[in-house]
């Protein structure tokens, strides 16, 4: 158990349970994410992928089921800054400089000023924004803002990165560059990533496994293992890449038989 970054078993999320407007957002979802593994959640709107991410992050409670994050309850994991989170919007604070935005998680974790500053500069160097440390967020482009948000999510050196369509608002060119950067960073830091996306090529390019979800009720229908060796610009044009893209697309269309009970267990895919 302790070797898993995320372990979810039989998770249900039912909004307004018992009321007339009851919605089942997650139905018996099980998923394991190994240490250092990159897992994408993909599916149409309303399939519960963001809900699942929020349950893992303890932003909302699950209705039933067990969730463990870095071997702890999601609540403990949140309190102990075990995960970093990035959203579709960069969500930077306009009144803080870029550096002070990156420092925010450290500030809340009680780091002292000098250590905070050093760590933030180190992170900004990693996302290649060291020259913009004292700039204000609004002076940066969308892609740069998102890089600041990623630097911020890595500030406390968390074991797990939870990302909710972080590149969804970026143009295609920037998006591909950001994907390369994220791969480089997650590899360098050994961080496990749970990545929510709408984009099939993005999911395939980034992930070790792509978890395909379907709506009404939100559940896991397929898990596609992706085996691409060194991922670089050539990978995007390789046959193996297209094969995986096709496999995910077929799964999304429901053309292949869904996985049985148990969902996206690590054992079944390795």
């Amino acid at each position: 158990m302790s070797t898993l970054a995320v372990h979810a078993e039989g998770v249900w999320k039912i909004f307004n349970e018992g009321a007339a407007n009851e919605v089942t957002a997650l139905s018996d979802v099980s998923i394991d994410v190994g240490k250092g593994e990159f897992v994408s959640l993909i599916g149409p709107s309303g399939c519960g992928k963001s809900t699942l991410l929020r349950v893992i992050a303890d932003l909302i409670p699950s209705t039933r089921g067990t969730v463990a994050v870095a071997g702890m309850t999601p609540h403990e994991a949140r309190e102990k800054h075990q995960y970093g989170m990035a959203f579709q919007q960069a969500a930077l604070l306009d009144w803080r400089t870029v550096r002070r935005n990156v420092e925010l998680p450290l500030e809340l974790a009680g780091w002292d000023k000098e250590k905070r500053k050093a760590r933030a500069l180190e992170l900004l160097e990693m996302v290649q924004l060291q020259d913009f440390a004292e700039h204000r967020p609004w002076e940066l482009s969308g892609g740069m803002q998102q890089r600041v948000a990623i630097a911020r999510s890595l500030a406390t050196d968390p074991e797990i990165l939870l990302m909710d369509e972080p590149f969804g608002a970026l143009d295609e060119m920037t998006r591909e560059r950001m994907q390369n950067e994220l791969l480089r960073i997650s590899k360098a830091t050994g961080t496990s990533v749970v990545f929510v996306t709408h984009s099939i090529p993005e999911a395939v390019y980034l992930s070790n496994r792509v978890v395909v979800m379907s709506p009404r009720p939100g559940r896991i229908t397929h898990v596609v293992s992706v085996d691409l060796r060194d991922r670089n610009e050539d990978t995007r044009e390789s046959d193996a890449f297209f094969e995986s893209v096709t496999a995910v697309r077929e799964a999304l269309r429901g053309r292949v038989a869904p996985v049985g009970e148990g969902g996206a267990r690590l054992a079944e895919t390795s």
């Binding site: 949140r78 800054h81 969500a91 306009d94 809340l108 974790a109």
Partner: protein, 256 residues
Amino acid sequence: MKGRLNAVWPPVLLGAIFLIAWQALVVVQDIKPYLLPAPSLIFTTFTSNLSLMLATGLYTATTAVLGLVLGTLVGILFAMVAQRFFVFRNLMIPVAAGIAAVPIVALTPILNNMFDITSRTPRVLITAIVVFFPIFVNVYRGLTEVPAVQLELLRSLSATPRTVLRVLRIPNALPFFFTGLKVAAPLAVIAALVAEYFGGPQEGLGSKIASSAANTAYGRAWAYVVVAIILGLAFYLITLLLERVTTPWAGRTRSA
């Protein structure tokens, strides 16, 4: 700099044309000063009584500043309590609306009786009541209208409500506060001036305008009106300056 000059000259030109037309109208039509004094008369009265004008303006300005500070502090306090405690929220918004509906003209004589009429107190209180509402409404909005994603971010970082207030809600509310203050500051001058019409110390612009008019010193009455206008503008401009200095991010495209 050139752009700024381009923004300045149209209103200045318009003002000059207006004053010349006014002067011409008074001279050509031979309008009596009790109907409409000429700008030249107002100007000479203003310059020849400069120290009196200054002292009178300063008295009203002091009342306005005291009322502005008091009303602002109470407005911020109420907004923070309303944001933090759900129970108070539904209670305070109607109360605030009620305070906004208070007719200050009617309330002034009552407050003059309740408090020492010979003091400045009732005037400051009137001003504070007028100031309260725009500050309360705007600060409350600024504290509550926080982007949902930023709240989620802070929750993911295990921030306590107090931390959320400090790192997110208060900075978020600052531009809103200045929006309120830009309304409240000139309003404070008007309220302080109007409050002087209802008895009490014969100091301040309101008292002097009333007594000058009663003594057929129309030029002087109008000169005091000019002081009141300058005062209102000064309050507005000081607020604008404070806003520029403290919230440089306001009005920028939000990165959220």
